[in-house]
Assembly symmetry: D2
Homo-oligomer: 296 residues x 4
């Protein structure tokens, strides 16, 4: 199978490498010449343009930063939608507005191009290890076509529903994650302010009704969990500004459907304050700083 | 061992029965004559007063609604502290301000009475089944003295730290739980507003980084989880007004130690709005109504 | 001067009538045939299309519901930008995203068409009475050209800055207003819950450091201020769903510039909850219901 | 008239001086020997104890930091309630829990001592200048008895209602003020992030429906208003930690009466975060830093 891969950033690059290792004929492209050189050096075949990359491809995978990049790539004048052959499968793994994913699927539908939205979670570590989680929007049949490729890049594949549903599932999940992380940070900070041992308190809550993913895998207080970003200076992991972007998408979506998300909205604005304080590049669990005494 | 048990409400009554079944000589009391009659009918030996109940007791267990009741029972003029013999162990399982628990322990210390705070989670179901979780504040030695009794009433016993730490651990946990439940409700409601199947979305988030106790055990949307209060008209479980009380204690504590808990504070006020709307008697997971269209 | 007016809704219709009364040659249009009939009956000259309305116009005024309508009117294929003669002045009074206003101004700039954004506050009452407040974005010179027309429709004209600044000023103001109204509602409800007389409390706060527009002009509690919507069943005024839209625009803008607006974001989500509870059509001051006992 | 004044802190000291200047026979006391020396040097007659100060007084004024100090002064064993002669008027100007004020009034009632709660706003500047605002709880007759004294210390005297109503009115007002200040800060910061001139935006909002006390008297952005604390390095004024205390009292009160105050609760927690970040000693308008880029 011939595969085109567009977008070789921190996530897309390692994902493309995993597809390449699986023995597919792969043609890749990125607007950044530097990214192209980097992955050419890793042995990938770099095309001269996105259009050249998709020529003759059975499947196209894209991994771009935001809605406007996806619109520009596929839908603008001379966009890929007019270059890709009917019958091709397009897997867009970018995290973007659900409305944009639906527009893409609709446009594909008119031309006989199958489109699924397949945003991921799992971070750059998961991208390298091929253990990402995919949340897929589109028809079941198209997901089955995509599955062999997705399995090269990820360990969990969820079918969320029709076009755009992958995006919606992801922002719902990440909005909840943003809330969990701040809520967990507040509970730990409150305990510490009362003199409790944070390891003891974290373990009690983990095994009680406060139990959640942050307490299981990603404790925000340095020293509680050796492998967590908190214990490594909040390096690596999932950056504050990426969480901020996802929470912004959730609020954009909430506005579009008139949903009420008071904690999700507050989480977005607290991450924004945390970013304004200069912590945008740190792992998102560093948000605990917002509720800790400064010297801590 | 002779045990006195003060406070025979929805929680205290079944807890006392479990202590009684274990073969201890038990003397119980409640200010409500009706409660006394009810548990006399269940075979418990009802004393004429709290003072009479504790006479000659090796251990005293109390389960009262709020700080002021605990202060009145133990610390007022003629309070139990002046009635209980030195060497006795006092286990206060009421959920109250940590400061009150510390005052009780201090007062006990002056008189050679060992005091631990041991608030519970697990609801009336756990009280009846003897599967409560105890979060204990006090010395390790006193906790070990109490353990045989606690094991008659509960399945999990955590040592949170010194006097008052049981209270702090409980309000930290319940504050986090209050946040998790609203955050989970918002995420599900947002997905539903976008046309997602709530069962599918709940399962995706449960297995992803949004995973938390509410998604595991207590989904707030009717029909997703058969055994959850949501699927039984929000009956039983842990009432909105009890959650509201615990979140109020958390804010009182946060004010006392100058902690910042933005999501915890908002959760308290959203439960208050939910209660004002007439839902104080429903299970606390009914808070999802606040973010659902009215007809839903 | 020949003026075209596009958009004859609850706001646009009365605004067009005021322009007409001032003696300008006026050609109007709305996509709704009903609206066209209504204002034809009021004596306005209705064109067959937007393009026909703007033919030969010295100035074009538009008043549309949302960004997408403005984009469709001016920027789409065959949009007005390609129909309007160079040298014409365009005054867009719609409340839309600042980014859309800037795009419009830029597009106009390429074609020699002067564009200002001039969103209004003051509600339908102000539209009828010609007492609206205009917040204008664009060059000072273009504002001076527009001033005679704006003065027919409004009483206050503020120059907020360059293109889009009118929109930004309006959403900043309305975000603050949304916050003021809920904050004032909470303060009054808290006082009432403590047994205070709401008139006395409102007057104390109005004359103290809690003083704000809501306490001056628009008390949210029925009976405190006879002329306020609260005392008329929350009819008329500025609807909850319109406030919800503006607060959504503010959050969209905050996401775009990475600003932190915790109270503004919470206000948006509380209005959303209020709307979901079935109050979207009531005046926005009815949000006090969210913090009142149900029977109140 | 013989007046006793207890509590010579930053507020109480200047208030006592103003009473002294008015020609009353004044006997003052403070637990701090340093404060006593300072006001002895200013010419006030310092008593050896609170009990000595109130001996023979027609009126007692107190100005203490918190509920526990007021309880200790008046209600403890040997407290002033047992020292003050029947018929005396007690004016407690401390900002404390309404419940404590009511307890004091009740205790006074039993002994024929008239008690009013009369917390103030206006800051140390107002205390020195004698321009404080008093919010009074108690009977109208007792307020009239107090009025001549209050007029020596303040410019505005409001009767809020029965015992405790002064406290409630004050925390309602200050909760609203806390909300206004953050809301105003957010609106200005959002405008600035969009390139607006903060002076222009502030003026537009001040004259529109966003108008409030902060925009009138106390703009939080340095440089907008020369006389505001913001333009003096946030020195003087009303400190962040004092606002934090008042917002904590408001939440304590809301918990006691089961009121919902989502913005008020969030404001408390945002001030707490601001204080944790090291800004507790700055004027409360410095909370704008929380929503500004760090370098700003």
């Amino acid at each position: 199978m011939k595969v085109a891969f567009i977008g070789l950033g921190n996530m897309g690059g390692p994902m493309a490498l995993n597809v390449g290792k699986a023995g597919h004929t792969l043609s890749v492209f990125d607007l950044s010449a530097e990214a192209c050189r980097k992955y050419a050096a890793e042995g990938l075949s770099v095309a001269d343009s996105a259009a050249a990359a998709v020529a003759g491809a059975d499947a196209v995978v894209s991994m771009l930063p935001a809605s406007r990049h996806v619109e520009a790539l596929y839908l603008g004048e001379g966009g890929l939608m007019s270059q890709i052959a009917p019958g091709t499968l397009v897997i867009d793994s970018s995290t973007i507005a659900a409305a944009t994913s639906r527009k893409l699927a609709e446009e594909g539908g008119k031309r006989g191009i199958a489109v699924i939205d397949a945003p991921v979670s799992g971070g750059t570590g998961g991208a390298v290890a091929g253990t990402l989680t995919f949340m897929v929007g589109g028809s079941e049949a198209d997901l089955e076509r995509a599955r062999p490729l997705l399995e090269k890049m990820g360990a969990n594949i969820f079918h969320a529903g029709g076009p755009g549903a992958g995006q919606t599932a992801k922002i719902c999940n990440n909005m909840l994650l943003g809330v969990l992380m701040i809520g967990t940070s507040e509970a730990i900070a409150l305990g510490v302010a009362n003199g409790l041992d944070p390891k003891v308190l974290s373990e009690i809550m983990r095994r009680s009704s406060g139990g959640n993913w942050a307490l299981e895998k990603y404790n925000p207080l340095p020293g509680v969990m050796e492998t967590a970003p908190a214990s490594k200076g909040y390096a690596g992991g999932f950056g504050t500004d990426l969480m901020l972007k996802d929470l912004g998408l959730a609020q954009e979506n909430a506005a579009a459907v008139r949903a009420a998300t008071p904690l999700g909205g507050l989480a977005r604005n607290l991450y924004a304050a945390h970013s304004l304080a200069g912590h945008g590049g740190l792992d998102f669990s560093s948000v605990i700083k917002l509720v800790q005494p400064k010297s801590a």
